[in-house]
């Protein structure tokens, strides 16, 4: 058992990864990633750029996509749909949490 102290990277909008890095970090093939972008499940920072870059949040989404693809044998179309719906649920849950935080405790 060894315990090492390690520095960390936030996977947020401040963290930027290249297309190749996103493929490597998620375990998805570049063709699969491209399809996720085409179907709108992943958005590059600037889609007009020839060299796409993505925010760190996309690493979380792409890794979830990889797990779903591996676990459910999903084709790119179904995978994009599932990832899109999960993202919507995640956003709604975050909004719900935020609204709940604003409610006084006694009336929650």
């Amino acid at each position: 058992m060894n315990a090492k102290l390690t520095e960390t990277t936030w996977l947020d909008a401040h963290c930027e990864v290249t297309f190749a890095e996103l493929a490597s970090l998620s375990g998805l093939a570049e063709a699969e990633l491209r399809e996720l972008v085409e179907y709108g499940a992943l958005a590059p920072n600037d889609p007009r750029e020839t060299q796409w870059t993505f925010s760190g949040e996309c690493v979380v989404t792409a890794r979830a996509a990889q797990r779903l693809r591996a676990s459910f044998d999903l084709d790119p179309n179904a995978l994009s749909l599932a990832v899109g719906l999960l993202e919507r649920i995640r956003a709604l849950e975050a909004e719900l949490r935020a609204l709940r935080a604003q409610l006084p405790r006694r009336t929650r």
Partner: protein, 315 residues
């Protein structure tokens, strides 16, 4: 080695065909997959289901598994004497997991080649307090990770990680610890460790992103007359000026008193005014309230009458 009944885990008969196994797996995966399930035990349950399916969907692995015989779940057992020779792995079976046996199963006569194999990534939820998120913290994480021996065979070993969570964490945020996952093999890169931050509920503060919400109880006279009150924040107590005429539910903002953001700045702290009526009033207090009631022209339900008039006019 402890026996796991993969057929029972998937809820299928031992003679089930591949299609039935696939259907059973999918049904359970819909229920327990950590990305879609709300079951707190979902991740652990899915791990078993996925492990069972990974072995039973593969004809060769399934045959090798069947050759282990049927034992009671959790029972210590050893594979039959010729099992290792027959299925190409001739290592000792002590101290290994059934999942490791099949995860790295190379098939009849097969052997792991010298191809570089990247280490496995791990995802762990780190539960931290709001105070930890405010100040930054070092958390201890325990993981059972596979480690490879000289022949490329895995054994699960407990490994402890110390992960530094810098200031700026909030619920649901993710961190990547590069190279802190499983060890790579044959020169493959080490995997990464991903942390999912989950904040423990706090008795006073409720986080919303990097903002915090706090209930601020006020006496009726404090709300009417205004007051300067002491308010707790994660950085210590501060004074807050409550303006005269503060209504219940009104949010009083304390700028930058929320959680620090990862890169710069901080969220705000919102104190939500709550007007609290004293439980038992003394005779003197009751007399003062009565005096107020007799002298006040305030009608808190004035808009009911306005609405009523409007209704009568439109019908």
């Amino acid at each position: 080695m402890k026996y796991k009944d993969y057929y029972a885990i998937l809820g299928v008969e031992r003679n089930a065909d591949t299609e039935a196994i696939k259907k059973a797996y999918r049904k359970l995966a819909h229920k327990y997959h950590p990305d879609v399930s709300k079951d707190p035990q979902g991740e652990a349950k899915f791990k078993d289901v996925a492990e069972a399916y990974a072995t039973l969907k593969d004809t060769e692995k399934r045959a090798a598994y069947d050759q282990l015989g049927k034992h009671a779940p959790g029972e210590d057992f050893r594979p039959p004497p010729d099992w290792g020779r027959q299925f190409g792995d001739s290592h000792a079976f002590e101290g290994i997991d059934l999942s490791d046996l099949f995860e790295h199963f190379t098939g009849r006569g097969g052997r792991r080649g010298a191809m570089p194999i990247p280490g496995q990534d791990y995802e762990v939820t780190a539960h931290i307090s709001l105070e930890d998120a405010y100040r930054g913290a070092t958390v201890d994480l325990e993981l059972a990770v596979p480690e490879f021996d000289g022949s490329g065979f895995a054994r699960r070993v407990p490994r402890s990680f110390k992960a530094r969570i810098p200031k700026g964490a909030t619920d649901g945020q993710r961190l990547r610890l590069k190279g802190q996952g499983g060890k790579g093999l044959n020169g493959g890169p080490d995997g990464d460790l991903y942390l999912n931050i989950a904040l423990h509920p706090h008795p006073l503060f409720r986080p919303s992103g990097h903002d915090l919400y706090l209930d601020l109880p006020l006496a009726p006279w404090e709300a009417v007359l205004g007051a300067t009150v002491q308010v707790p924040t994660l950085g210590g107590t501060v004074e807050l000026k409550v303006p005269a005429g503060t209504q219940a539910g009104q949010k009083l903002r304390l700028a930058n008193r929320g959680l620090p953001r990862p890169h710069q700045g901080a969220g705000d702290l919102y104190a939500i005014a709550q007007i609290v009526v004293p439980g038992a009033a003394s005779d003197k207090e009751r007399a003062l309230y009565q005096q107020l009631a007799d002298g006040a022209s305030f009608n808190p339900r004035g808009h009911f009458e306005e609405e009523g008039k409007h209704e009568r006019q439109t019908h």
